[in-house]
């Protein structure tokens, strides 16, 4: 069964395009990544799903029901973590969580306790006194306290330190094991790679490609730069090298292919320094961007 089904969804803001003809299907139990640079239309798509804004044309279905018409009903089973968290400043964390819980027809107190223990959240503080990262923690607890069947995350890790980020990912994995479907939007490739089964790549409002994460891994580019005195560009004639540039005593290129072959080539030359790193998202998807 498709938990999310988006058909030809378009949102225009006046003359500018929010998203255009987006088609997506997310199956039950998936952890689905939604990746693209800032301003590509990720948040617009998610806000359409949450019926915060209305589509210009096309439709979005959640659990097989129209996202706008059955909004309140489908939202019972959705947990949403927006990229920026804003709550009523004067409220205490526990009051806010209880207020949120009061909209669901079930007892959420156990789950609130469990989640806030994991996230080390102080329930007695006021929202206005919380740091950005702590607000994010409140957002995580609030988004998951009703044990939703679909969890929608919009750039969820900003403001979390690496330790909390891992705890958060573990929670998400647990919820997924218990049957929840995850829709994970991000502009950071590594976190999507860590968590997701499939990804959709969005750019300038359109979906460019939907890929298995395995395929994406195989497409794993390395960004290599070598420093040395007598570097010879021609030594690097391996398959899979792209964008080879020589700048005085520095060689830079991207490599996709057998890493052993690359290491052999590198070891045969004299150099001062080497740097092998993960390319940024833009660089990985550069063939889409050209």
């Amino acid at each position: 069964m498709n938990i999310i089904e988006i058909k030809n969804l378009t949102k225009l803001y006046g003359n500018s395009i929010g998203i255009e003809n987006v088609n997506l299907e997310v199956k039950e139990g998936e952890i689905f990544g939604f990746i693209g640079p800032n301003g590509a239309g990720k948040s617009t798509t998610i806000r359409l799903l949450m019926s915060l804004i209305h589509p210009t044309s096309g439709e979005a279905k959640l659990f097989g029901k129209d996202a706008i018409e059955y909004g309140p009903e489908v939202r019972k089973d959705i947990g949403y973590l927006p990229s920026e968290i804003f709550y009523y400043d004067k409220m205490k964390v526990k009051d806010l969580l209880n207020y949120s819980a009061s909209f669901y027809d079930k007892d959420c107190s156990k789950k609130i306790k469990e989640l806030s223990d994991i996230m080390e959240l102080d329930l007695n503080r006021r929202i206005e006194d919380l740091s950005y990262g702590n607000k994010k923690k409140v957002g995580i607890v609030q988004g998951l306290l009703h044990e939703p069947k679909l969890i929608i995350l919009d750039e969820p890790t900003g403001g979390l330190d690496p330790l909390m980020q891992q705890k958060f990912f573990n929670i998400i994995r647990d919820e997924n094991k218990k049957g929840a479907t995850i829709f994970f939007s991000s502009h950071i490739l590594s976190e999507v790679q860590e968590l997701c089964n499939r990804v959709a790549i969005i750019k300038d409002g359109s979906i460019i490609e939907v890929q298995d994460i395995k395929t994406l891994r195989e497409n794993n580019y390395k960004k290599i730069s070598i420093l040395g005195n007598n570097l010879n560009k021609d030594a690097f004639n391996l398959n899979g090298i792209t964008k080879l540039v020589q700048d005085k005593d520095e060689l830079k290129f991207f490599y996709k292919g057998d890493i052993n072959a690359m290491i052999k080539t590198i070891s045969s030359i004299e150099m001062r320094d080497i740097n092998i790193e993960e390319p940024t998202l833009e660089e990985v998807f550069m063939h889409y961007y050209e």
Partner: protein
């Protein structure tokens, strides 16, 4: 129900401040009246004032010497103040979610926008009624020691029914303005603008007879206290117009806000 409670709580402080301010103001006015009433010089002074100037302040038809006359004079200011509170409340109760960026929290909860507006509307009504009763009580309490005409209490009750209708008119205008407008700053300005312009129109009508036809667009002219005092009733035509405005404002709020994109 949880929304009603939450809204009342979040507006409680401002409601208490308004209540205290209005109660104080009424008390000060009555102390002022106390110094007028026994003093024939005040009436002489008022008679010498240019008629237009009195008209601008809504004081043309009253002798300041009688209690009813005095309360009739201050009624315009009660309309203005409580109208201001109502239109600000109406406009902010809708637009604050976008202003404070809490819209992305509230409107993804499993509850329809219709129910959210309904909850906010109910809490606003409770707010208006409370302020109305506080004002009514302060008038009654601060006049308790005065000699009153036989119709005093019917006059006061009719006047506060008028105040309530005016509150409702401006509440629904405020609601409508902010539900149509995506920019919350603009909503507040437009709301206060509407209130000031209609008040200005009512002052102009008092001064310039030929502008009398404008009385239908200024709620401040709907329930003139001199009419209430002489007829002991409210003019039916204005009750009908008021109901039309209120229904259109609240109906429009439901219609437009439900379909509108939220500003996030």
């Amino acid at each position: 129900m949880n929304i009603v409670k939450r809204e009342i709580k979040s507006n409680l402080k401002s409601m208490i401040i308004w209540s205290i301010a209005i109660a104080l103001l009424v008390t000060i006015w009555m102390i002022e009246f106390d110094s007028f009433s026994g003093n024939p010089a005040i009436n002489d002074f008022l008679e010498e004032m240019p008629q237009e100037m009195l008209a601008a302040m809504g004081m043309q038809d009253f002798t300041m010497g009688s209690l009813e006359g005095f309360i009739g004079t201050i009624s315009l200011y009660l309309y203005l103040l409580l109208g201001l509170q109502a239109i600000l409340l109406g406009s902010s109760i809708i637009s604050k979610e976008e202003r404070d960026k809490t819209a992305e929290y509230l409107f993804v909860l499993p509850i329809s926008r219709r129910r959210i507006i309904l909850g906010k509307l109910i809490s606003a009504l409770i707010n208006l009624v409370t302020l109305n009763i506080v004002t009514l009580l302060s008038v009654i309490l601060s006049t308790i020691s005065y000699d009153k005409g036989e119709n005093f209490y019917s006059f006061i009750v009719l006047m506060f029914v008028s105040v309530f209708i005016i509150q409702m008119i401006f509440l629904s205008i405020g609601l409508l303005v902010s539900s149509v407008n995506k920019k919350y700053k603009k909503s507040g300005n437009i709301s206060v603008g509407i209130l000031m312009i209609t008040f200005l129109i009512s002052s102009l009508i008092n001064m310039v007879d030929s502008l009398d036809f404008l009385k239908y667009i200024s709620p401040f002219k709907y329930f003139d206290s001199s009419y209430i005092l002489s007829e002991m009733s409210l003019e039916p035509i204005y009750i009908i117009i008021s109901i039309l405005i209120i229904v259109a404002g609240i109906g429009g709020t439901f219609k437009f806000y439900i379909k509108r994109d939220l500003y996030i």
